[in-house]
């Protein structure tokens, strides 16, 4: 009898709790005026976004929540947040591959002011005639150089290249790098390039960003912008520049498996290397110690492809805004108003350019203070053709990891032809397999 009663008490308690939980769950779904919830991708700009959101709320009374996903967890956070009762009204995808996963959630932005504000329709992600994503920041990468050290090289009596303008292709770049490497003591550096670290904090610079060059030139040649299979026409060029990085660096090629992203940053900051492959986003960390804003410039990533004297820096976006089509209508409208304010108002444009240091593709944009962004703008003004970000069409993470592992093992085993064959296999065969697996 006692047991029965106990069971009954237990059942009542469980039922009570379940009901309570249900009510608590419902509490979130209030109605009324619209609000904005932005799931931000960039931890570096967390504070700036929160500040901007607060200013907007103060001015308009519309609540704007900014949540920033921890580095490397954006997709997971988004997957979890988007099924909640109050999902993000504004989120981002990283390009066509990201869009293909999230497009069911994307509101068509074709008739919005945000889309009309874009300086070029190229910066939108489309699906058929729908506009689903809008790039809000353009980033540029290339070979960042230390002007002070490079001027010292130009002035030296042993240098053969005497002016920056003459570094306009792979052969000149490799000559400069080799001479700096040979006279590194005279120049007071440890190597021409920073260490090409292949741990996960740095390997994306090579398996992803540098791999963009052979992909870009192949796409140009074939006249395509995405591919099921890749031929690897420019892989010998990829090898050329990888060899250059390995042979003229602050460390031996056999050590790159242990080098991190921080190692390269610190080498550049301390003036131990002249060249560092990275992009506009790294400005904050490479200034300090012996490097200041005036010392920074950026060269294109020359790989020895035909016509590269007109090649510019690699400019593109991995950050596209998408508005959640499943959010409540009033929330969508408020989100669109908020975005318009961000890209057109004085406060908004100033925050984007100054607080966040972004180069933004909107008509009302202010110029960014970032010296690397300026270098990119100068390059475009000089008539150089920017290289697109085709790495956003890479079929999967496994492809990048396979290429990265092969690049590393090539470096560890003495830069042999057999080693390079493995890079080719990973690049070409891996692409086809991964594409098939994920489509």
């Amino acid at each position: 009898m006692n047991g029965k009663r106990m069971t009954r008490i237990f059942a009542v308690l469980v039922a009570g709790c379940v009901i309570l939980c249900l009510f608590a769950g419902c509490g979130g779904g209030e109605t009324g005026a619209g609000k904005v919830y932005y799931l931000n991708f960039k931890p570096e700009q967390k504070a700036a976004w929160e500040q901007l959101a607060k200013t907007y709320t103060d001015q308009t009374g519309v609540p704007v929540t900014v949540v920033t996903a921890a580095s490397g967890t954006y997709e997971d956070t988004l997957s979890a947040e988007i099924v909640k009762d109050n999902p993000p009204t504004l989120f981002q995808v990283n390009g066509p591959v990201g869009l293909s996963h999230w497009k069911e959630y994307c509101y068509d932005l074709k008739d919005t002011d945000l889309y009309r504000e874009l300086t070029s329709k190229e910066f939108a992600l489309t699906d058929g005639d729908k506009v689903l994503g809008i790039a809000y920041v353009l980033e540029t990468y290339g070979i960042i150089y230390n002007k002070k050290l490079l001027d010292r090289y130009f002035a030296a009596d042993w240098s053969t290249v005497k002016r920056l303008e003459d570094i306009n292709g792979f052969s000149a770049l490799s000559k400069v790098a080799a001479e700096i490497q040979a006279h590194r003591e005279a120049l007071g550096v440890k190597g021409a390039f920073t260490s090409a670290g292949m741990t996960d904090s740095s390997d994306w610079r090579f398996k992803n960003h540098l791999a963009n060059l052979p992909i870009y030139y192949e796409y140009e040649k074939r006249g395509i912008d995405t591919a099921e299979k890749i031929d690897g026409t420019y892989l010998d060029n990829y090898r050329q520049i990888w060899d250059l990085y390995l042979n003229n660096a602050t460390c031996a090629p056999t050590e790159i498996g242990a080098k991190t992203g921080d190692d390269a940053v610190s080498e550049f900051r301390k003036g131990e290397a002249v060249f560092y492959q990275n992009g506009t986003w790294s400005h904050g960390e490479i200034v300090g110690d012996k490097v200041s804003d005036e010392d920074l410039g950026m060269l294109p990533l020359y790989i020895g492809a035909e016509g590269e004297e007109n090649q510019g820096l690699c400019t593109g976006s991995e950050n596209y805004w998408c508005v959640n089509a499943e959010a409540r209508d009033e929330d969508i409208q408020e989100t669109l108003k908020f975005l318009k304010w961000v890209v057109t108002s004085e406060t908004g444009t100033r925050a984007l350019a100054e607080e966040m240091g972004f180069s933004v593709p909107f008509k009302a944009a202010k110029k960014s203070d970032n010296p690397l962004t300026k270098a990119a703008e100068d390059m475009v003004a000089a008539g150089k053709k920017p290289v697109g970000w085709n790495f956003t069409t890479i079929p999967s993470e496994d492809w990048k990891d396979g290429v990265g592992a092969a690049l590393l093992s090539y470096a560890q085993t003495g830069l042999t032809d057999e080693g390079w064959e493995k890079v080719k296999t990973a690049f070409v065969n891996g692409w086809a397999t991964e594409y098939a697996k994920n489509h």
Binding site: N2, G257, K437
Partner: protein
């Protein structure tokens, strides 16, 4: 007192039961369900039957078998090394060694450092302290380096913990029995085999269970130390990560692309079954050997 306890215990159990339900049972059931689906988010899924399991087990496109082999070999070796070493140290430190409490503390300390931190610290130490100066190579150079490195780090971390459990077990062996054995003329080895080991069997059970599951589920040290490298891509374009263990394989598969979420989930279910079968078998086998004092 006892009666009112009996009457009210469900009330006190409720918070724990609820927490268990919300944070374990529900996600677990969800997980099993999603292993039969392709999914992007919790409300966007399509049922695909056994496709995910077929892909994991038979397609050869995932690193599952490779990492299972690596994990199994790793587990066998680490369980042996950890338990033998922990038992011997515990045995030594239950003798009258001067400063034995200090030693116990020192041996236990590595266990207090979190796995991921430990992994990164050891990666630096092994790379810059040993491999690069001596061989000019690093941990990612060959899978043997990675294997030994992982084995070393896990042993270093776990031996102290198991040692504490063995010490507790050894201390509970009554002196009277040991003395009786001595009077009966048992040699040191005989006492160990016939008296001490049967008496500490409960400790052996728990230590084996912990070390088997810990080794099998190892993730953070794997991620920090090698990240699965080195890797090779074969002619079919499939990338094999040579030092990837099962848990890392699941998370890498999940992160590879949105299309692979269901596949990774199926892998996790298979992984759960493996760990459950292995550890339950072990529990059954060693429990049988436990004796009453």
């Amino acid at each position: 007192m006892y009666r009112s306890l009996k009457k009210w215990f469900p009330l006190f159990l409720l918070p724990t039961a609820l927490a268990f339900l919300v944070s374990f049972v529900v996600p677990f059931l969800y997980g099993i369900f999603f292993s039969f689906c392709e999914f992007q988010t919790l409300d966007r899924f399509t049922f695909v039957g056994l496709d995910n399991f077929k892909r994991v087990l038979f397609s050869g496109q995932y690193n599952f078998w490779q990492s299972l082999g690596f994990t199994a070999l790793f587990t066998v070796l680490s369980v042996i090394i950890i338990n033998v070493a922990a038992f011997l140290i515990a045995y030594a430190l239950t003798r009258n060694v001067p400063g034995r409490n200090l030693y116990r503390t020192v041996f236990f300390m590595p266990n207090l450092i979190g796995g991921i931190v430990l992994g990164y610290v050891w990666r630096t130490v092994i790379n810059y302290g040993v491999l690069i100066p001596l061989l000019g190579k690093d941990l990612t150079y060959s899978s043997t380096f990675g294997f030994i490195g992982l084995l070393f780090v896990l042993c270093w971390q776990q031996i102290g913990y198991m040692m504490i459990i063995y010490i507790a077990g050894l201390q509970s062996v009554p002196d009277s029995i040991l003395e009786a054995a001595k009077i009966d003329g048992a040699s040191g080895w005989q006492t160990m085999r016939r008296v001490t080991i049967p008496m500490v069997m409960p400790s052996i059970t728990i230590c084996l269970f912990l070390s088997i599951t810990n080794s099998f589920k190892l993730y953070d040290q794997n991620l920090a130390l090698t990240g699965g490298l080195p890797a090779v891509t074969d002619e079919q374009g499939i990338t094999h990560r040579l030092t990837q263990m099962l848990a890392l394989c699941i998370s890498d598969t999940y992160g590879n692309s949105a299309r692979a979420h269901g596949t990774a989930q199926a892998m996790a279910v298979v992984f759960f079954l493996l760990v459950a079968v292995i550890s339950l078998t072990q529990l059954m086998l060693t429990r049988r050997k436990e004796v009453q004092q």
